[in-house]
């Protein structure tokens, strides 16, 4: 059974008969490449499964020794790493770490959401092309600054030269300076995703409003923003998820004292900063103290994943409306 293969060569084409072996070889090579590429794509699935398996295994081990109710409701986080000389009774209540994380995320949101949205409106509705060509790359550079550098900035500049000057007596490590800098970090994310959403709003909507005599402000706030709302909200949620998972800024600037407080001038500890503290210390691996990082990591993973899924759902719905 011969297979006919047509190859076009220059202006004339020739038909060549290929043996079954050659055809099978070609077919086989295609199949091998296909499966190798599929394996590449499935690495991402294995990554997710490995993350979930790791967190689940160690977290269930942790909850065999600590009740899950205590973990979620106890208001003290005293993991008793390395025994501690005072012999304090260990407490494993996530609430102080959670409140620290939420305090920083809320502060960051207060900074980044209005600033990011107004930046997006400026870029999408006001800025001429040449200005957008300058501002967007600059914001991308800001987005590319490593978080350890932002942490240095939060500690040595925002905390020392701004917060402690405005509020004398504040400790060097405080939630406010970390929150402000985390907010600065997520501005580019809010502005670029919101701008994408606004650029997708059809021009006919804007033109209709302008034809009725609306000002630029009215077009931006009453036509473009409502039309792009689900994309904007998606960018907000994604940015908050980034703020919750941020590690180096809060480790360097927010402190290491688990503290159930809503005062941004206090020193606090976030979930991520706690994980870093344990892995930098000499807590023996396999001990209960070390297992805490997996329980805290699981809490962090579940929170950010939920936010990401909501954000993607909104983005997806938004795409269906205008495409």
């Amino acid at each position: 059974m011969g297979v006919t293969d047509i190859e076009a060569v220059g202006p004339t084409s020739r038909i060549r008969r290929r043996g079954p072996l050659e055809a099978r070889l070609r077919h086989g090579r295609e199949a091998v490449i296909h499966s190798v590429l599929f394996l590449c794509a499935s690495v991402s699935i294995f990554t997710t499964l490995a993350i979930i398996a790791t967190l689940l295994e160690e977290t269930t081990g942790f909850f065999r020794e600590v009740s899950i109710i205590d973990f979620l409701t106890d208001t003290k986080w005293i993991p008793g790493l390395g025994g501690g000389p005072g012999g304090l009774e260990p407490h494993f209540g996530i609430l102080p770490l959670l409140s620290g994380t939420l305090l920083v995320a809320a502060g960051a949101a207060v900074v980044a959401l209005p600033v990011g949205l107004l930046t997006a409106i400026f870029l999408s509705e006001y800025a001429p092309g040449w200005l957008r060509g300058i501002v967007k790359p600059v914001l991308e550079v800001l987005a590319g600054i490593p978080t350890v550098v932002l942490g240095f900035f939060a500690l040595t500049f925002v905390s020392e030269d701004i917060i402690r000057v405005l509020f004398p007596g504040t400790k060097i490590f405080n939630a406010a300076s970390a929150a402000i800098v985390v907010g600065i970090m997520i501005i580019p994310m809010v502005s670029s995703l919101s701008e994408d959403a606004m650029s997708a709003v059809p021009c006919s909507l804007r033109e209709g409003a302008y034809a009725l005599g609306a000002t630029k402000f009215e077009v931006a706030l009453r036509v473009v923003v409502p039309a792009a709302l689900s994309g904007i909200v998606a960018s907000f949620i994604l940015a908050i998820s980034r703020a919750i998972g941020e590690t180096m800024i809060v480790t360097l600037a927010a402190g290491a004292t688990p503290n159930l407080t809503w005062n941004p001038l206090d020193s606090i500890q976030t979930m991520t900063a706690y994980i870093v503290q344990v892995s930098l210390g000499d807590t023996p691996q396999g001990s209960l103290g070390f297992r805490t990082i997996f329980a805290v990591g699981m809490t962090l993973f579940v929170m950010t994943l939920t936010l990401n899924v909501i954000s993607q759902y909104l983005l997806h719905r938004f795409r269906e409306v205008y495409e």
């Binding site: 293969d5 076009a8 295609e30 590429l37 590449c40 794509a41 690495v43 991402s44 699935i45 990554t47 490995a50 993350i51 790791t54 600033v115 107004l118 409106i121 400026f122 006001y126 800025a127 501002v135 600059v138 914001l139 991308e140 550079v141 800001l142 590319g144 600054i145 490593p146 350890v148 550098v149 942490g151 240095f152 900035f153 040595t156 500049f157 600065i184 000002t215 630029k216 402000f217 706030l221 980034r242 919750i244 998972g245 590690t247 180096m248 480790t251 360097l252 994980i275 870093v276 892995s279 930098l280 990082i293 990591g297 962090l300 993973f301 994943l305 936010l307 990401n308 899924v309 993607q312």
Partner: protein, 293 residues
Amino acid sequence: MTAAQMGFRRRLFLRKTTAAGFALLCVLATSIGIATLAVLLVDVTREGIGRVSWDFINSFPSRKPEQAGIKAALWGTIWMMGLTASFAIPIGVGAAVYLEEYAPRNWLTRVIQTNIANLAGVPSIVYGILGLALFVRAMSLERSVLAGSLTMALLVLPIVIIASQEALRAVPSSILEAAYAVGASRCQVVSRQVLPAAFPGILTGIILALSRAIGETAPLIMIGALLFVPFTPSGPLDRFTVLPMQIFNWTSRPQPEFRENAAAGIIVLLIVLLTMNATAIILRNRFQARARQ
């Protein structure tokens, strides 16, 4: 002038004033991000520029701040970049080619696609926890530069895949169709037509992904990159440190001299990163300009 006309004029004036005020507000908001970036760069340069010298780049860390340097961190960063790139680029581009050119439209493809988008949003410290459990412990690679690079490769993989997919999608389908029409097999179409056409876009994505990996600290703290390393790695199983770890270490010390070292380290790190980012932006602009023609 009637009362109605006067009312109209007053409202029009108010609306125009609001519009002007809002425009100003937008300009101010946009300048906050840019101004902060400028302040950060000036602050770091002012604090650290005095320490940047050949000795600083070519010395090992030391307990004496004035003798300390970033040699070990710089070599660790170079090692980690090379290894991370060699894992993340083939797998990432392969996955993107599969999803864009090979994958059937079924539930499995949709799951993979959604999953990649979700992985891009997982906090980097969670990748560190995974790296610690999988590479350091289960595969007993210890706290080596190889374990760090594998962790970092998983972290940047979603970025490489998403950017490569966008680049592949931008290749006009007429090119594919022409190649198929003259009898090319799928792998010939991909390797000789699609990949070369998408190359600048893929390269931009790879550079951005690697610049993310260069700046990451948290996952490496988790897998236990060292804070004090007076040597350079000589193989993939050696222990290591990287620039951001060295900066973190110096920043968290109380003595101001070490803080000066941290600022100097930041200057070196930012020069590397800004060069990479600028290359990526130039490549992308050139690519976009050509695509528009």
